[in-house]
Symmetry: C2
């Protein structure tokens, strides 16, 4: 295992300390590093809280700030945060208007956030994201997995929360955005969880994993490495075929951590051509590492249908460590 | 070679097409893909032009836009752009106030930009960046290499150009910022140039290259993999020992392309502790992949002394594909 770390046991704590130090104008680290929260809360606003296993950075802590999340609970790498982390975050960021949880659909996350919601003192609702069209159930999930589309839900619902919309409206909006968002991924290499010390899986030098999950868990099938155009053709067909309708969309080409920008733009170009064939106009584009799997090489494509409301909320100001515009 | 591409011969063209399509609100691709230019030029402003071999994305094309570069010339991977690319860019973006070239100190880049400057019709000055303290001369450079500090020069000089400062003042500012900026890098793995198809170099499973260049070229020495703290200690000592003075600084922990955010924040935390020991306060922080070497695992640390003027120019609005704030 080759990593820029001191020891597997301290990676998460040191990364969180570094993150909080680098972005001290935006975020504060909670006691015992249980959560990262927005430095300046906005009283009367519904609190948005997410979280999940670490290793997907910048998701979720990188999206804490104005116009997006109020808190994020980081679990150990690829491991759900605990209910007491979530409870501590809820207690800190609920300013009286209630809390909306944004939860990726993995069994541990769903169960722990549910426990925390039951124990919380204020009203709590939740949106469970499940945008991955690759598989119906998988290693860690019953039903589809929540992947890169989650950050789109966080951004759009975050903007609506910032505007002061109430909890039930935000919950409905989050479900609607999730229902109009589809993703699929591909991996060329594995990642290595620091505490494990060895690669999560192995791929031969000429193989790829189509439909891979963001923990390196299996997807649809392991096949020979194909061209960017062929990969995009299969992924876009699966995504568009599963969308409830066609229309202008936000397209995210998301790197998993080990793929250079040059290849992500090649994939964006390949996806763009496929989307044109399918009659899906690109209304907004985002290319980069946003929902990663440590240093895994590969990427995902996400297509999220944008109606006028969602487009305006996407464009609204956001100021977080990893996403910033209009501020 | 495992890459998300169609063919080595078409990688650059397709990446540029994808880049221009994804960021069409900010940039325009020149004829024959000779350069990427700011979509909306600002007449009367000194034009800022940079460029260099591709494979370092987002440098330089990702920094084209308001408050930073007016044009960037992308060479083939790790290969200098040609003088005719530069001339075409100069002809397009010089609106009458002259052009400042920002050139990383590699022999091919320096020579080709010099030829282009001689052939250009308007006044041209240049700033050559050489912030890498690792080695004095190396594979592609006489004198120190220009590395991640280059993007700091581009940002600060870009903000000053946007304010309307004249060519000679910008040239002096660029030289001053470069003179107050130092970097050093470390690699844990090699990168693979698509046209070569095989890794640029090899490192054993327990080795790292201290002082590596951004093309994977050798640095100071190849040694056993060390802890993040030990790596940061050596790098920060070399950097701070070479700075002309101590004072508040912008600290950039820059990923080379294959290292996950979690490790970059561990390195930031390690660097932060070392800088505190050396009495260098962190005035601004930036952590992420900004000046890469394809998918190389590793990172560099850059420390740039910020006087009040440089800090204000760093904070000034910027709107490019890869760096954006205040807009």
């Amino acid at each position: 295992m080759k990593k820029l770390i001191n020891a597997p046991e301290t990676v998460l704590a040191e990364a969180l300390d570094g993150f909080a130090a680098a972005h001290g104008d935006l975020v504060t680290l909670g006691a015992e590093r249980k959560f990262v929260r927005r430095a300046a809360l906005k009283p009367g606003k519904v609190a948005l809280v997410s979280g999940g296993g670490s290793g997907h950075e910048p998701l979720h802590a990188g999206f804490v700030g104005r116009g997006m999340l109020d808190a994020a609970c980081p679990g150990q790498v690829f491991t759900s945060p605990t209910p007491d982390q979530m409870l501590a975050a809820l207690a800190e960021v609920d300013t009286g208007a209630g809390t909306l949880l944004i939860v990726k659909n993995y069994e541990g996350d769903v169960m722990n956030f549910e426990m925390a919601a039951e124990m919380a003192s204020g009203p709590v609702m939740r949106v469970v994201t499940d945008d991955d069209v690759a598989v119906e159930t998988s290693t860690y999930s019953t039903g589809r997995r929540g992947v890169a589309g989650t950050m789109i839900v966080e951004k759009i619902v975050g903007a609506a929360a910032e505007e002061g919309r109430p909890l039930d409206v935000l919950k409905a909006l989050g479900d609607r955005v999730n229902g109009r968002t589809r993703s699929m991924g591909v991996a060329l290499t594995s990642c290595t969880v620091p505490a494990a010390g060895t690669p999560t899986f192995t791929l031969a030098e000429d193989e790829m994993e189509m439909g891979v999950g963001i923990h390196g868990e299996p997807g649809r099938r392991r096949v020979k490495l194909a061209s960017a155009d062929a990969i995009a053709e299969e992924m876009v067909a699966a995504i568009v075929g599963d969308l409830p309708q066609k229309g202008p969309a936000l397209v995210l080409v998301n790197g998993f951590g080990g793929t250079p920008a040059m290849e992500l733009y090649v994939m964006f170009e390949a996806a763009r051509k496929q989307l044109a064939k399918h009659g899906v106009p690109i209304a907004r584009a985002l290319v980069g590492n946003y929902v990663t799997a440590l240093e895994m090489a590969g990427c995902s494509i996400t297509v999220s249908l944008l109606d006028d409301e969602a487009a305006a909320l996407w464009d609204a100001p956001v100021h977080t460590p990893a996403l910033r515009w209009g501020v």
